[in-house]
């Protein structure tokens, strides 16, 4: 059977769950128009994955860079946080994430295996689109990508480390 699925299911808890609430027809990276989160941030219901995750999960490479944003408050973190460099089989991946009151407003790919200028600026609603930008730099608008999660893993792990720093 499919090994990918096995590993996938095994680390649900260990991996980021990025939740994006996005208004109609507003593909721009700017999420500030969206209603603010009520109290708790939307993102990770169970962040801080260190400790509870299975051994195969990426715990080791975290927290290598100091956050450039301010510490989280009870309304959620704000600022820009740089994730760890994650080595994938296609090359290193590193992202930074910008948060406003615990909501992701921008994710920027600092390093990608397929470095093209247009894959650098990445939209707000995170992973599906992150993958999309890397995979389809030249194609029309894509909402998500099926198959090949190798890049999203790198993205996610880097992103998770950035979010860990943000404390969300």
């Amino acid at each position: 059977m499919r090994k990918a699925t096995v590993t996938t299911v095994s680390t649900v808890a260990g991996v980021i769950l990025l939740l994006s609430l996005k208004p109609h027809q507003n593909p721009a990276p700017d999420m500030t128009a969206a209603p603010p989160p009520s109290g708790t941030p939307e993102a990770p219901a169970s962040p801080a994955p260190t400790g509870q995750k299975p051994s195969s999960a990426p715990t080791g490479q975290k927290r290598s860079n100091a956050p450039t944003g301010q510490k989280p408050s009870n309304v959620g973190a704000s600022g820009t946080y740089t994730g760890s460099v994650i080595n994938t089989s296609y090359g290193p991946v590193q992202v930074s994430v910008t948060l406003s009151n615990g909501r992701i407003t921008a994710v920027k790919a600092l390093r990608t295996p397929f470095d093209r200028p247009r894959s650098q600026q990445i939209a707000a609603d995170a992973v599906p689109r992150l993958t999309q930008e890397a995979l389809s730099a030249q194609s029309a608008h894509i909402d998500a990508v099926s198959g090949a999660t190798y890049t999203s893993e790198g993205y996610t792990r880097s992103l998770q480390s950035a979010l860990d720093k943000a404390g969300v």
Partner: protein, 243 residues
């Protein structure tokens, strides 16, 4: 290695929708606790050791195994919940978990959503009023390229392939890795079945095309190890993005 579950909601974030989102996340964590073969204390690991399943998750485990049996039957044994003789329904659980998460959101009023579990996707409604969802199919041999774009409403999209982790789908009849296909994408209505069928059909290799064509409610796009691309006649919106 883990995977990403992401939720993309195109409806207004009403309080019930926010609650459902939290519920959906909690649900995925719950599924991990019950079905992870990597957790010695999960229900599935207990079951594999011949121990009783905790009562509170017995119904879910029974549901998953019933679905596994159904899919095993439909696929003529090409899907199995005990690959290599070891109890492991993971080939079905992810799609099932994503589909239910999608339903939780739907029931709370989020009718236009994309729930993505590591590239296996349950879509509801549409991306924007009058605009269908557009899902890129990653090219298995060319990192950075898409092989196709699927467009549609209320659609499940699942891809099984070798690109990401090498040959990891095993032919249940021979025990050897399936290598005839590099990638197989299936579309359908329910991600539970679409995902499991994609895994099964991938293992079929060269026979997959004919099988998918005969499969009600599902369409497929295959990329062979040699690089040939085929698709079934009604594969939705195969806008080629080759380059």
């Amino acid at each position: 290695m883990g995977t990403v579950f992401s939720f993309d909601l195109r409806d207004p974030a009403t309080p019930p929708v926010r609650r459902a989102l939290k519920e959906a996340v909690a649900w995925l964590h719950h599924v991990d606790e019950v079905f992870s073969t990597y957790r010695p204390d999960s229900a599935i690991s207990r079951l594999g050791r011949g121990e009783p399943v905790p009562e509170r998750c017995a119904a879910e485990v029974a549901e998953v195994f019933a679905l596994c049996e159904e899919v095993a039957h439909t696929t003529g044994g090409w899907f199995t919940h005990a690959p290599g003789g070891r109890l492991d329904p993971s080939g079905l659980v992810k799609g099932w978990a994503v589909e239910r998460a999608s339903r939780l959101l739907y029931e709370a009023g989020a009718h236009n959503t994309c729930v993505n579990g590591g590239g296996d996707i349950q879509l509801r409604g549409e991306a924007a009023p009058g605009t269908p969802w557009r899902i890129g199919i990653a090219h298995p041999a060319r990192p950075g390229a898409l092989a196709a774009v699927v467009t549609g409403r209320d659609l499940a999209v699942a891809t099984s392939g070798t690109a990401e982790r090498g040959a990891h789908v095993v032919d249940p009849h021979t025990g050897r890795p399936a290598t005839a296909l590099a990638s197989l994408t299936l579309t359908g209505h329910s991600l539970t079945r679409t995902d499991a069928y994609a895994t099964a059909a991938f293992a079929m290799g060269a026979a997959a095309r004919e099988w998918v064509e005969a499969l009600d409610g599902h369409e497929g796009l295959g990329i062979t190890a040699a690089g040939e691309i085929w698709r079934t006649p009604r594969f939705p919106g195969a806008t080629w993005a080759e380059r």
